[in-house]
């Protein structure tokens, strides 16, 4: 048993060593296009590339994660309410695969929350309560799993900010979350292959909050 484990460990380490250069280069390349993406098709292209890496690698959660992230971002451009769910289903499938490769990953819980929040857009009145609960639960878990991850704070802030007050929104509370997110982002290591999106959003939101507080 011990031998097998040792062997397996050896195998995976050689495998990852063997792949690392190519893998990292491919991720880095596609991340560069993801980080600068502004249109639906660039997100889709990057997403497809990540999905190819994921399928080829089979054991890496990161390309699945990014493929899902790209799919979610692309949904923002979707105007047809009938198409949103199908696209989110595809994104959810990718996060499920990422999750099976890397369980209890704070970043993957953030994607689950994003998917839930996007589902609300299809039918605000009918889906609001159900899916915002799902989203917040995922973000709560994301915070617990990695208290230094700024993204759960950013997402909670964004949701609290954009939701009307009668439905649980709270701009003041949102600002506190933005501040915390900005603080965590400033401590986070600079651009790596690991998830790093959201910094600009958090800083912008935080400075808007500060400006408003100062105006008062």
């Amino acid at each position: 048993m011990k031998k097998t484990l040792l062997f397996l460990a050896l195998c995976t380490s050689t495998a990852s060593y063997a792949q690392s250069a190519k893998f990292q280069k491919a991720i880095a390349q596609n991340l560069a296009s993801l980080d600068t993406a502004t249109t639906e098709s660039t997100y889709q292209k990057a997403g497809a590339a990540f999905e190819r890496i994921a399928t080829a690698e089979k054991t890496q959660w990161l390309p699945y994660y990014y493929a899902s992230y790209c799919a979610i971002r692309a949904v923002r451009f979707e105007q047809d309410l009938n198409a949103i769910d199908t696209k989110l289903d595809q994104a959810e499938l990718l996060t499920q695969q990422a999750n099976s490769l890397s369980p209890n990953n704070s970043e993957i819980y953030c994607l689950n929350a994003l998917i839930a929040f996007f589902r609300i857009n299809v039918d605000f009145m009918a889906r609001g309560p159900e899916y915002s609960a799902v989203g917040y639960a995922a973000l709560q878990r994301a915070k617990e799993l990695n208290p230094n991850n700024p993204r759960p704070y950013l997402l909670i802030g964004q949701s609290k900010f954009s939701t009307p007050e009668q439905f649980g929104g709270d701009k003041k509370l949102a600002c506190q979350y933005f501040e915390k997110a900005a603080e965590l982002f400033s401590k986070a290591p600079e651009s790596t292959l690991e998830p790093h999106w959201g910094k600009a959003d958090a800083l912008r939101a935080n400075s808007n909050c500060q400006a408003q507080a100062a105006a008062k």
Partner: protein, 730 residues
């Protein structure tokens, strides 16, 4: 095994080496569908490598690779089945041309169905559904049943509380909460009056209203099943408070820190005294209706996919009224009604691995109606006749269902239920005694796709009643064809049995099950903007209760009709509206009917229109509903037998309006609701009661209040701020 793994990792090294050492070959081509129309946004990948691309708007694609030799090219396009083709890359400088053609349309995206959220092939996909917000904003009176009356198939019957569906009586529709039967879904009423549901719409996630051909999982309802699923755990603890001239209500539900346990209570007291002193009802209440309800519930999340729910409600009501006796003009009927109701249900459902799921439920129902009748000569204080009767029902039920995902996104469900009923009718003058019945049922149902476009469901239910000494086999089946534009054609058939009403069973316990057979053809197209649905049905009744010449099961009847439902959330910006139309042709020969005739609860044409609009800036939700029904038959003893039920009441018109304002009150979610029913003051007559002694005298049956206005404030506070406080400290 060891060797294999080693080879793989070495291969990886070689490939990278190759990539560095040699140039790259390119793979180019075009993607089209079978009509040679270019397909954009198709994902193309060289299997096992990172290489690939996405096709452009003209369907063209091109990418480079270091791979050499025979390889698989995998293409994925939305709405089509994946295309896998073999290509050969001769050397590392070659340009490989290839054409990718998508031929097979994928209807249910195989991958997506795995998530099984919205594609389940069960009743919920086949029936019209309303979620709790829709029920709240549709029903002007917060009554679940009123909201359902805006859907096709339901009659606008205002003199009784039940749901009258497709030529069926109110007692032919049964309500199920989390799988368990709910007797006395609405408050008890004296004859010819309607009341509302005991259950607040907010208790439920959604209502699935099947107007026929429903699943083998449910039974003992000849016409329809209303399946209500209770809410799961809320996101946080909260408290409710509501006040209106009619009622005052309040409740609190506390969610544990780990968000896995919920305990809640809710109480409501309704008293129509104040309202009736402001808006005079058509009936003289000596004691306006008063209802007191208390609910206690526990919900508990077990593991990942399991939930335990306990719901208890206890209710009391009383009212009394005085109305002229139809037979003796100088006498006043003094009617009093006191009710005690208890309902308890405990359910546990648990999802297991490999597509297994089990459900266990137990329920307890107790209902006691105390009817008092006193006849008092007008102007005197002493009655000349008094009677008090007790109508008592108790029910204990157990239910279990096992389900397993099988075959092509299919599902097999089987289970059993058992109900022990004790029903009695006693009065201080005559007593019918009481009956005990043990009813048992077993059911099995298989749903599966047959081909890509065709799916089916087949089920059977075996029912046995010890009181009736009878067992019955009730088959149910349906076949569903999906067209390429995602519209569906559905054919269903089902046999349904129901025990006769308590009163008849107490009189003669040799009675048997009544039977209805449903044949339904449905065409529907649903998406997030529009719902179009039309149904053609034929329903055959056998073994209905007849009271003439003697009590027997010799009644029969039929109902056939056409229904259309159209809902549109897109065309008129910001407005969600729906229109239901039902055409109903029905006759039955039952009870004391001398011949087969259109019954008094059936209108030939029924139309209902609902429109809603939310104004976010003003925080106002406006909703209007209009219901129309052609006149219904009523029995006129002055007519000859040939003319039995030939008279018709005036047409029914009802325009309702509701304005909901969501004010900013602290951190609460508040609603101020102002609703008007029958705002135009149209005269509504549901039928007539004739004097037996002088058939020239008759009293119209009308709504208690017409028109009616309601104003209320409802608030919900998220009590548990601990989460935000913790987050506040961050």
């Amino acid at each position: 095994m060891k060797n294999n793994l080693l080879i793989i990792s070495t291969l990886g090294l070689i490939t990278i080496g190759a990539g560095v050492a040699h140039g790259q070959s390119s793979i180019t081509g075009i993607v089209t569908d079978y009509n040679a129309k270019p397909l954009a946004n198709v994902r193309i990948a060289l299997d096992g490598s990172y290489d690939g691309t996405v096709s452009g708007p003209d369907g063209r694609f091109s990418f480079e690779t270091v791979e050499v030799g025979p390889r698989l090219l995998l293409s994925t396009a939305d709405g089509f089945q994946d295309v896998i083709q073999e290509i050969n890359i001769p050397d590392s400088t070659a340009t490989v041309q290839c054409q990718i053609v998508f031929t097979i349309k994928a209807l249910a995206l195989g991958k997506v169905v795995v998530l099984a959220k919205k594609f389940e092939n069960d009743d919920k996909n086949k029936v019209l559904t309303l979620n709790s917000t829709e029920i709240l904003t549709t029903a002007m009176d917060g009554n679940v049943v009123s909201a359902l009356k805006t859907l096709p198939g339901a009659q606008q019957v205002g003199e009784s509380s039940g749901l009258f569906v497709r030529g069926g009586t109110g007692t032919e529709s049964k309500m199920f909460m989390d799988g368990l039967l709910v007797n006395n879904f609405t408050y008890s009423t004296p004859a010819n009056q309607a009341s509302r549901s005991r259950f607040a719409p907010g208790l439920f996630k959604g209502a699935y209203f099947s107007s026929g051909g429903y699943s083998a999982l449910y039974g003992q309802a000849l016409s329809s099943a209303l399946v209500l699923d209770s809410e799961d755990l809320p996101a946080s603890s909260n408290a409710d408070f509501g006040i209106s001239p009619l009622s005052i209500e309040g409740g609190i539900q506390i969610l544990s820190k780990d968000k896995k346990n919920l305990t809640g209570i809710f109480t409501k007291y309704t008293d129509l005294d104040l309202v009736f002193s402001l808006i005079k009802p058509n009936i003289t209440f000596t004691n306006a209706p008063k209802y007191l309800d208390a609910n206690f519930f526990i919900k508990r999340k077990i593991n990942d996919k399991g939930i335990l729910k306990l719901y208890n409600s206890i209710g009391r009501s009383n009212l009394s009224l005085a109305q002229p006796n139809t037979d003796y003009a100088t006498l006043l009927d003094q009617v009093s009604l006191r009710n005690t109701n208890l309902y308890s249900n405990l359910t546990y459902s648990q999802g297991l691995s490999k597509g297994w799921k089990f459900y266990l439920g137990a329920g307890l129902n107790y209902n006691l109606d105390r009817f008092g009748l006193a006849l008092r000569p007008d102007g005197t204080k002493h009655s000349v006749y008094d009677s008090l009767s007790y109508d008592k029902t108790s029910l204990v039920q157990l239910r279990t269902v096992l389900s397993k995902r099988v075959l092509n996104n299919g599902r097999l469900q089987w289970g059993a239920e058992f109900m022990r009923t004790v029903e009695g009718l006693h009065s201080d003058r005559t007593s019918l005694g009481s009956n005990q019945d043990s009813y048992g049922a077993g059911f099995v149902e298989l749903e599966s796709s047959i081909t890509d476009n065709l799916s089916g469901r087949i089920g059977v239910r075996v029912e046995n009643s010890t009181l009736l000494h009878q067992h019955k086999l009730a088959p149910r089946s349906s076949l569903n064809y999906t067209f390429s534009n995602k519209s569906q054609l559905l054919a269903s058939y089902g046999t349904f049995y129901q025990k006769p009403e308590k009163y008849y069973l107490l009189t003669d316990n040799s009675l048997q099950f009544s039977r209805a057979d449903h044949y339904i053809l449905t065409y529907q197209k649903l998406d997030n903007y529009y719902t179009f649905r039309t149904e053609l049905y034929y329903k055959k009744y056998n073994g209905l209760i007849r009271t003439l010449p003697q009590l027997s099961n010799s009644g029969y009847g039929y109902a056939q009709g056409l229904e259309v439902f159209w809902r549109d959330k897109k065309t008129l910006k910001g407005i969600d509206y729906w229109v239901s139309y039902s055409y109903l042709d029905t006759e039955r020969n039952y009870l004391d009917y001398p011949l087969a005739a259109q019954p008094s609860f059936a209108a030939r044409h029924t139309l209902s229109v609902v429109a809603k609009r939310f104004f976010p800036a003003q925080r106002i939700n406006l909703s209007a509903s209009y219901a129309f029904a052609t006149g219904r038959p009523y029995f006129n003893p002055n007519q000859s037998t040939d003319e039995f039920m030939a008279d018709r009441t005036i047409n029914f018109n009802n325009l309702g309006l509701s304005i909901c304002y969501l004010p900013k009150i602290g951190k609460s979610f508040s609603v101020i609701a102002l609703t008007f029913s029958n705002i135009l003051g149209n005269q509504q007559v549901f039928g007539y009661t004739y004097s037996r002694l002088d058939p020239q005298l008759r009293t119209p049956i009308t709504p208690t209040n017409n028109p009616f206005v309601f104003l209320g404030l409802f608030m919900n506070f998220g009590v548990d701020r601990t989460n935000d406080v913790i987050d506040g400290r961050l």
